[in-house]
Symmetry: C2
Subunit: 695 residues, 2 copies
């Protein structure tokens, strides 16, 4: 056998992620599930229905070590019937068909009925996508050991667009990728390994992802060609694969494409030739991919081209593309990560945190209705703790999509453990007060608060061609959790973690308990040994792993802590600072602006304070820094203890994979602890109250 095959065999569990479909060993459970799962009827026909059926066959065959009986019509022996409500007459089963009115296009019903001869489980989608999601819902119930003999589940996804952004380059590299290379591209070619793409699609559809952009938002020279007839047939192959799993394919485009592809001398969005060029281009794309999703655009950001070159604004730029896409129901996802990345560190009046709001807020209402502005969750860049971007909810008349980053760029790069769901929950639960109390981020991005035509959530993917997809096997939980959370923001982080552990590692109680607690504690731990109190950064420039307190302090990137011998923090108040706090709605504006009311965890984001400033906990800022940094390392040591307890309960590959990374994390945590403590001790001269070792 080739070493590749051997690796896959050894790492089978790692590769399968949460779709383990392990043989059910418990006899009672086996009998109960088997009585329902081994006689399948699928009514109707579509590629998506077929994916649902195939998933069910694969899962059932694996879990019961038996092939199910399959019919393409419901008969009295059918124990599961799947299809859409158009093909399954609910009334025949005594179900009130009006139940389907409560569902959106992707919703579904899981309902136990009696067909006269026996109990039987209906998996009924509002569309075939709904049926696919219903199937995954059922399989999740089985994998997590829930009863399935008396179900009535009516469910729709809360968010309309549930998207992933791949930051994959055609040379095979992945920007901010920590899991090997791209599964889409290699050596400036599009992959021919559609099997891996299909497995990715299975994973994504199992958690409800319905959109994906497959190339990096920084579109370099080679990638600019993805929208040309030379490469579109191969893009179409990928889109075909995703389509079978209910996922629409998007491309990131280069705003300067008309020039770069050699056709025009301008990319001015108001130029008639440019408009025509894009209209023709879009037509060409849709000829290859009839359900193409649209474009993701990073323009006038970090040196990427955009409408500014022609004295046009973001509305001009995005609307031009939107007009081209409109006839095909395509959309433009226009990123708001726009700021001055050539800032002079001496200039204290410019505040990067203000930039997105300052750029985009004045344009509210000027965007076409198939343009969506994509806004990062925080105003800076995916730090371990940031306030919510004041952009979210600020634009009543402009579609918005929220951007998360599953890739742990600033959160340990999938060496260190950081389960991101609790952090994202905080974001979604945050009340912006945009339309008074209750204007949560969830209500904004699900489109309900302002009745957006398009909205939802996107995230930078964390996968690569590593055999386990995510470098650190535990980072699979973030991909899983992302999908689950944006499907249903009411799920708790605990529920999601528990589901994932059960599906991924099985039901051993120590495994469940230890891994769940490791996940749930991990973001706080990471915050403890890195940058508590909301200040962020202090990382090594460029690659962003490991501590470097002054790493960005004298740089062009607008990311400063302003620590001096007396204190630390960025004054973003209205009266004496950059005024950033004023971008929030009341009362958030007042809370953040006030030294007394500002929550401790964001204190240094909004205020410059002396090291001796007392936190609400009673600790001084400096002592809090010492305490959290010592504690963080101890907590990592505890993670290792918890993981080591699982040695005999987890396959060798996954056990060692995580253990290796925990050891790297410990080394990293110690480096953070010592550098940060030493830096601030040297600067403040204030000793640790507990007299622990500072260098």
């Amino acid at each position: 056998m080739s070493s590749k095959v051997l690796e896959i065999l050894n790492a089978k569990e790692a590769y399968q992620c949460w779709l383990q479909y392990k043989k059910i060993e418990d006899g009672r459970q086996y009998d109960e599930y088997a009585s329902i799962c081994l006689n399948l009827a699928v009514v109707g026909d579509s590629v998506i229905l077929n994916s649902a059926l195939q998933e069910l066959i694969q899962a059932v065959t694996s879990m019961f070590d038996k092939e199910p009986l399959i019919t393409n019509y419901a008969d009295p022996d059918s124990s599961i019937i799947l299809g859409t409500y158009q093909d399954i007459n609910l009334t025949d089963y005594g179900v009130d068909a009006s139940i389907m009115d409560r569902l959106n296009e992707e919703g579904y019903l899981l309902q136990t009925v009696n067909n006269g001869k026996r109990d039987c489980l209906l998996l009924v989608g509002k569309s075939d996508k709904g049926t696919l999601y219903a199937t995954h819902h059922l399989l999740r119930l089985i994998q997590t050991g829930e009863a399935i003999n008396d179900l009535t589940i009516v469910e729709s996804p809360r968010n309309q667009i549930r998207m992933l952004n791949q930051w994959d380059n055609m040379d095979g590299s992945v920007e901010r990728g920590y899991s090997g290379n791209s599964i889409f591209f290699d050596n400036n070619q599009i992959t021919t390994d559609l099997e891996r793409i299909k497995d990715y699609a299975r994973l994504l559809s199992s958690v409800g992802i319905n959109a994906i952009s497959i190339n990096n938002v920084n579109v370099w020279q080679v990638e600019t060609n993805l929208i040309t007839s030379k490469l579109l047939p191969e893009v179409a192959n990928i889109a075909d694969t995703f389509r079978r799993y209910g996922i629409k394919t998007f491309l990131s485009i280069n705003f300067a494409s008309p020039i770069e592809l050699g056709d025009l001398t301008t990319a001015d969005p108001l130029d008639q030739d440019v408009k025509k060029w894009w209209k023709d281009k879009v037509k060409e794309i849709y000829a290859h991919i009839p359900d193409f999703g649209g474009f993701v655009v990073k323009a006038d950001s970090e040196h990427r081209p955009g409408p500014f070159s022609y004295d046009r604004d973001h509305a001009d730029g995005s609307n031009m593309l939107a007009e081209a896409l409109q006839p095909f129901d395509g959309i433009v996802v226009w990123r708001c990560f726009v700021y001055n990345c050539m800032q002079d560190w001496r200039d204290r009046s410019t505040d990067r945190a203000r930039a997105a709001y300052d750029h985009f807020k004045p344009l509210d209402g000027k965007f076409h209705d198939n343009v969506i502005l994509q806004v990062k969750n925080g105003p800076m860049d995916f730090q371990v703790r940031e306030p919510i971007s004041p952009m979210i909810g600020a634009m009543e008349n402009t579609n918005q999509i929220l951007e998360f980053q599953i890739a742990q760029e600033y959160l340990g790069q999938q060496k260190d453990l950081a389960f991101l769901i609790p952090m994202w929950k905080e974001v979604l639960d945050f009340d912006t007060y945009a339309k008074g109390e209750g204007s949560t981020v969830t209500a904004i991005v699900d489109g309900s608060l302002y009745d957006y035509k398009f909205s939802g959530i996107a995230a930078v993917s964390n996968i690569g061609n590593d055999i386990n997809w995510t470098g650190n096997t535990l980072a699979q939980a973030n991909l899983y959790g992302y999908g689950r959370l944006i499907w249903n923001p009411n799920l708790t982080a605990e529920e999601i973690a528990g589901e994932w552990v059960l599906a991924t590692f099985g039901s051993d109680s120590t495994v469940l308990e230890n891994i769940t607690s490791m996940l749930l504690d991990s973001r706080e731990i990471y915050e403890n040994y890195t940058t508590p109190l909301g200040i962020g950064w202090m990382v090594n420039p460029n690659h962003h792993y490991g501590p470097n307190v002054d790493g960005y302090e004298y740089s062009r990137w607008g990311t400063y802590h302003f620590a001096d011998r007396n204190g630390i923090g960025v004054d973003r108040t209205i009266e004496t600072g950059t005024g950033y706090a004023g971008q929030y709605f009341s009362p958030n504006k007042k809370v953040y602006n006030s030294l007394e009311e500002c929550p401790d965890e964001l204190l240094l984001f909004f205020h410059h304070v002396p090291y001796t400033h007392k936190l609400k906990s009673g600790e001084t800022v400096i002592q809090h820094y010492y305490n959290t940094h010592f504690k963080g390392v101890e907590q990592v040591e505890n993670l290792i203890v918890k993981w080591t307890m699982l040695e005999d309960k987890i396959d060798e590959f996954r056990f060692n994979n995580v253990l290796d990374r925990l050891k790297m994390q410990l080394a990293n945590a110690k480096e953070w602890r010592d550098q940060v403590n030493t830096y601030f001790y040297r600067k403040s001269g204030i000793a640790d109250e507990k007299n622990r070792t500072i260098y």
Copy 2:
């Protein structure tokens, strides 16, 4: 014409460096020189004599716009006669032949004699190399406008080995190169452009360089093959070219070659197979290059392989190679840049400055007599100010060669101006007291103090394939000055600068005055705006350009400043510090060890002091830092003023080339000023007495 040719035409002066041979415009001077230079006799025959003749023909033809008459015997009309003393009978010209006894093999006589019919100038070498150097001496006199009608010059080089180390890689890159790519290698091939190599050889021989290693001391995979039969014929072509100019070719080798080239499983220097392997290898090399110089070796340094892997020491490693080279009179140049590059920054007991002495001193006397230890001038790594390496003079029974770096790695990278001759003069003039007063570095490296069999000076070259060789045209002065200084360490920096300006830019008095003063001030200026008082570093990691005060503070490289809110500096005293000061001979030991006696410019290298410590000037350390940093920027502005005055006096290419770099230097100096001042103001809290802008 091709753009390459056009570039060369526009940049002819830049390319020619100090071998301009401009037409002599002054009529009186023209006549005087022409009366001597237009009738040449060359007696004897060798490739080197031929190079001397060709240089003379080229120069004379260019300066007088006339081709000289050439004979291969002295006749009554000969006005210049060149050859060796074996071929020119001095007594025939009334010269006491015993004068040649005062010369070493590379020495020469320039003597005006009367042959009965006319005055005639003898250029007589002790060997043909001497004749070549005599020729260049004559040409230098003409280019600098000196009289040549009544000469009696008897001259030998002070140092035996006068070497350049190219840090060129076969992919064409140059490690720490700031002047384009390699002239030796491109795309993993050896160059076929021997014309450029020849021009380099001309430049080098004109200043007396007699040895060169052509590949990087870090010998990577491809370069390991330079000593194989596949590449040796091409190396031989390069060696042939250099040989014509009296320059021996060396190669840097990979200590693990026997393994890397696939022949053995060990590189253990005491293994018989390894010994035989190297003996055979050396034989093979000499079959291609009969006068091959030998090996340059970086072993057990910065992750390069070496004898430590086999529990052997540096003597074992170098002696094994020396034995292989000995039958062919080859030598081993073994670098002493050995230290722990994986130091934990928390570990204050390890001191990189101590490393070379600690490693090598105990091995004194154990090295074969064709091994030379190559020692960097300072104990760290070519900082703008370091004490002399205590290794120099510490090993009475071991040949030593001093290593300078002409490439301005830490001195502005040939963007910023830094004329290095004054710094090297300080090194050479330094009294080590190794054998009591008068034990200067010069007396050690010229071999006289300890009667070394081999000794001299090597330097890392600063050239590349830029049209002007050195990026910044003014950096040519460092290559010129290096050769001149090591030929004759008694030359002053002023003399060398003056010579170089005259030969390079001609004799306009403003040009001479401005450029000479720019050069002579430049190192102090660079020191002012970077790291005065001997602390060094504070640069951006990896590439080493621009400020980053904490850039190396928490790194593995052993390069720290230990600045805290109270003070700065490294305690290297015997009593409370690392003990490094104790590595010097008395009284240097005592001077450096004493806070009172330690010279200000090295204060922070040896002592950790409060910011309020008073320097001998009366300034506090912190105020000195502010003052020098403000002053440094003003001085750079003044450099620009001085250069701008020369706009009409210098060809456009060279004028703009330097002006562009001076502008970069000004930006760099401001960044240094502001980052350093801000860093220390924030840390110390001590305001500038003059209340200038600190951020």
